[in-house]
Symmetry: C2
Subunit: 638 residues, 2 copies
């Protein structure tokens, strides 16, 4: 057995931050970076390293503020409608355009609209003017020596204009902090490599580099390093001089091949190793040769969070500007979330405004679920001393999107169908500002979400065994007080998915009770599960006879993936999912997948836009192309 | 006299937008740009040109979710504290690290913390596990064929990670629209050129290019073109093929050398020329050979506004994404603003939260005042049919900064002093998140602003002729109900500023009444003007005897600039202003410049931070270095 260092601290977040930044204070790493001199025209978005004062005034001469004629005001005194004054070009006036210098001997400009040419180089005017009329004084815009922009100011387009106008061709801006990212792990392979089991695509560095760039710093990604202590150490030493910050990803945990903390300890000082946060606990923070070194965990969500908590404030301090604060919004949790005491959790949520309130639905909490970062609209912090949130509890959400994006989001909760993803994509083509947020909690979950006012519509496919009718009776039973519009999205084929070639020779529902067949089920409340239960009942099979009946997944794709990956022999789901993963499909039952929309939301502009897209021929064609769908009733109100 | 085309339309903004964008619809210019294929790692911030679905699942194999040992769950059944199970390495278990594939024959992982090594390659466990415990299923993060990002989506760091994880090395993103900016004007000179009267630094193109870049497009600035119709036409023709949009700046007005609209008419179609907006009226919009061509006015504020109104929506449409909406905030106007009926005005304002409300103070409305763009915190729209706003009226402000920047702003209104600019700069060094907003309306204006609750503090220097004391009696008289803390900022020297070498031989206030001396005054309510009035009274001189007494400027620097530029022979002001512009200075009177702070604001965290900076030795040294200041009482409460 290899040497293992299973010790990992569980330090509160605030304490970890304080320790790390206090230690950095002694190193000079927190001082704003030295300036570099740039052409003003190349300095957009950069941070000024010193206040900039105007070298010259703008205008730097007396200038015509209008197109017109330059005159001596005294020559116009007494002019009115009855006593027009006649002026001679070259003697009493000169034509000037906006910006022209005022010729010697003149002290006012009359705008061209008030000048009546008489021919012969003469003009008539019927209104006197005063000295300095329509003349821009020296320094009217910028007075020499005036402050144009202060230190630590991010340069915007108008600042570049003002700097040039104030006589500056160059400007001193802060050098960008250089952050080296060292990807470590023998299992890592470059994107595009043919994959073998155990290979992991090295994609974290692209995400981390992206964050670093968005925070105004410069990222350089080194070659990946195998899990070899000496090589990692060599790589850190190699890049220490060329970097302001080093990030080692990953190897910060306490496994047999996690060398980061040891490397930091040996080459410098390990300040923090293990913080009471979820995800992101195994983060390591230290200093090597005056340079901050961060051991960022390997799981992508842990990596993103620990970067946000530790690297972001560090990089902003180095640039001399405050890190932008996340906008916050009040919301209501749609589901109960339990979180361990003693750990501060950062929960990713989807958001949507339903009527008067904003609803927050928790996303997957797995540290390895990159897609939860992609899908998240915001982050809810669960304090270390709180056990979580009840459904319906008020929470504060740090927004990852802009507020108006949340306001323009239609929330669909319920059963999963691939056409919902397609709809989200198609809607963007017609209405770029409109977003669809979908959560997959099964048909009954969708009906309950409607009941609690947590979504604009629910996707459902619930067969009433007594009438053979879909959805209508469930709406009547569970939502008796609501006026609901039921719109057909698709008719679709449900069936059994099995591995390609059907190695177990499954022919129908009855074969699922065979002892050599391992099943994987959908979650309770899913329409697909209700369909299975109905079929089992018809055949007189008890659920206990099906091996794997209790194993649950939340989407068609998830059960299909379990079959494709060999974790199960069969599952129930739609043809499109089987096709997507190359599985064989045994049809079981056609069904109607409808959208249930409360009438109060049905007439919302955003919902009507979605209805419009559902009714386009293009959408229907794309649905048919997925296979297993019938669009004859698509868009029809039941 | 040259040919003049003085005709300019005055089309309402909405109509102009509609006409222009309707006309563009027929050209194909509004279709999103064709895609280009980029390495995912280079695609940060770019817009997807198509939806991207996962090519592979992630994980693509069964993987250990923890560091620990891979086991067959059945081998652990029955294990508890009293009946530990002993497992042998290589037979019953293998060590695995997070991410390792599950070796053949095993179906669960026990985390390392729950494994007790016994030596001899044996371990003891005291808890049974279930199949699939601590194993990441195939597709747990991303299922092959799943939608990763939709079309028209701006790629964020986490999206890059998910795309790579989903098997994509490249991604199709929209080509950036290419915008050519043609600076026109014989008077333009490149930044850095030695200036002659009439020369104008060509700085608009840097600002316009900056906006274009911020809006996601690519700007190319051509060589400047003289005001020569044929040359401008040639330049447009030269760049038409290489551009998606052409911007001609300026020459869109109706002056003798404004050729833009003629050029658009001759080469294509002129759609709009003259819009009822202020600033920005002379904008010209047209189409040449299917390409949008914008004639953007030359004044920088007009240029910035017309770009925002016409170029920004155009460029976003070309990229297939909605233009980000400005955040809006409710505020109260601090001053009356009169605006002509029939013109929609875009007023630039400074903002600050004073107690419960946000106050909006109008900035210079001049189209040529670049600094008003630099200083603005927001824009107030004055509708075409509104005559303006009364002081105290509620207005909606489109924010140019983030809301929390406004919340972290301390508003100082009152007399102008250069040390206020210095203070704003120094404060940023200590407290990067803190902003100072200052408006110059004179000492009495500052006291009135305190009275109306429009600022956190006022800068004042008001001599009581009866007591010889500064400021105290004015506070008592005008703010009897408020508890005010009076803090000395500086003692300073007021005097007469004259041109270098004092060509008119001015010795003191008495010389201002000489008929050969042209004076320029500060505005009513300015402490400096009150000082002048007092001195005149002492000398028995009536204001009417002073030529130029009625000509007003708002700051020390503005009157100094008038003297430096020859528009006046003398003015009253502080030594620092004279030094800054190289003027001679005849001392008149020392005075006390104080900050008057209502007690309710004095204890605010932000105000205390400012007091801290005022009291630093560094600030005082920098004030002394300006000349004409005495810091013996700086920071002392009176």
């Amino acid at each position: 057995m290899k040497k293992r260092d299973v010790y990992l601290d569980n330090m509160p977040l605030d304490e970890a931050k304080k320790l790390f930044f206090e230690a950095l204070k002694d190193t000079g790493a927190l001082k704003p970076k030295k300036p570099e001199i740039l052409d003003v025209r190349k300095a957009l978005g950069r941070i000024t390293a010193e206040p900039v004062f105007a070298k010259i005034s703008s205008p730097h001469y007396l200038a015509a503020a209008m197109d017109g004629i330059a005159v001596a005001a005294k020559d116009t005194f007494g002019a009115d409608e009855k006593n027009p004054v006649i002026l001679k070009e070259g003697v009493h006036f000169k034509y000037v355009d906006t910006g022209d210098p005022i010729p010697e001997g003149f002290d006012a400009v009359i705008m061209i609209e008030e000048v009546h040419p008489l021919g012969n180089g003469e003009v008539e005017i019927i209104k006197a003017c005063s000295p300095w009329d329509n003349i821009r004084g020296i320094g009217e815009d910028i007075v020499a020596t005036e402050l144009i922009v202060p230190e630590n100011h991010r340069l915007r387009p108008q600042d570049l204009g003002a700097l040039l106008a104030g006589g500056h061709v160059q400007v001193a801006v802060r050098k960008k902090p250089v952050v080296s990212i060292i990807p470590t792990g023998t299992e890592l392979v470059a994107p595009g490599t043919e994959l073998k089991p155990g290979d992991i695509i090295e994609y974290n560095s692209a995400m981390l580099a992206g964050f670093i760039e968005e925070w105004g710093a410069e990222a350089q990604v080194t070659d990946k390093v195998a899990d070899d202590y000496e090589r990692i150490k060599e790589k850190v030493k190699e890049f220490l001089e060329k970097s302001d910050v080093i990030i080692i990803n990953a190897g910060s945990s306490a496994g047999s091949e996690d060398f980061t903390s040891r490397c930091i300890s040996e080459l410098g000082r390990l300040i923090v190793h293990g913080v009471a946060i979820r995800p992101g606990k195994p983060v390591a923070l230290g200093i090597i040769g005056e340079k901050p070194v961060l051991g960022i965990p390997g799981y992508p969500v842990s990596a993103a969070l620990t970067m946000e908590l530790f690297a972001k404030p560090l990089l902003y301090i180095m640039q001399g500007v405050p890190a932008p604060e996340a906008e916050k919004i009040d919301a209501v949790m749609t589901r109960r979330v339990v979180s361990p005491i003693g750990t501060e959790e950062f929960l990713r949520v989807k958001l949507g405004r339903i009527g008067e309130r904003v609803c927050a639905s928790p996303l997957s909490r797995g540290a390895g679920v990159t897609m939860s970062l992609v899908r998240a609209d915001g982050i809810v912090r669960i304090p270390a001393l709180k056990e979580g949130f009840e459904a319906g509890e008020r929470v504060e959400v740090e927004l990852l999107k802009r507020r108006h994006e949340i306001e323009n989001t239609v929330v669909i909760i319920g059963s999963h169908d691939i056409t919902i993803d397609l709809l989200a994509t198609e809607v963007k083509k017609y209405y770029q500002e409109l977003n669809i947020s979908s959560a997959h909690v099964g048909s009954m979950g969708g009906i309950m979400a409607l009941k609690r006012g947590e979504c604009h519509m629910a996707g459902i496919h619930l067969l009433d065994p007594e009438t053979g009718e879909y959805n209508v009776s469930y709406i009547k039973r569970y939502l008796p007080d609501k006026s609901i519009v039921l719109v057909n999205l698709v008719r679709r084929q449900q069936g059994i998915m099995v591995q390609k070639g059907n190695p177990k020779g499954i022919q129908g529902i009855q074969d699922l009770r065979r002892p050599d067949v391992l099943f994987i089920n959908r979650q309770k409340g899913a329409g697909t599960r209700l369909l299975l239960d109905l079929k089992l009942k018809e055949l007189g099979i008890s659920p206990g006879e099906i091996r794997g009946y209790e194993r649950e997944e939340y989407t068609h794709m998830a059960v299909a993936a379990a079959v494709a990956g060999g974790r199960a022999d069969a599952c129930l789901g739609i043809l499109a999912a089987a096709r997507a993963l190359g599985l064989d499909f045994i049809p079981v039952s056609p069904e109607e997948y409808d959208l249930a929309v409360p009438e109060e939301y049905f007439h919302m502009d955003s919902v009507q836009k979605i209805m419009h897209v559902i009714n386009t021929a293009e959408f229907k064609q794309k649905v048919e192309a997925l296979g297993g769908y019938d669009t004859r009733d698509t868009g029809k109100i039941k």
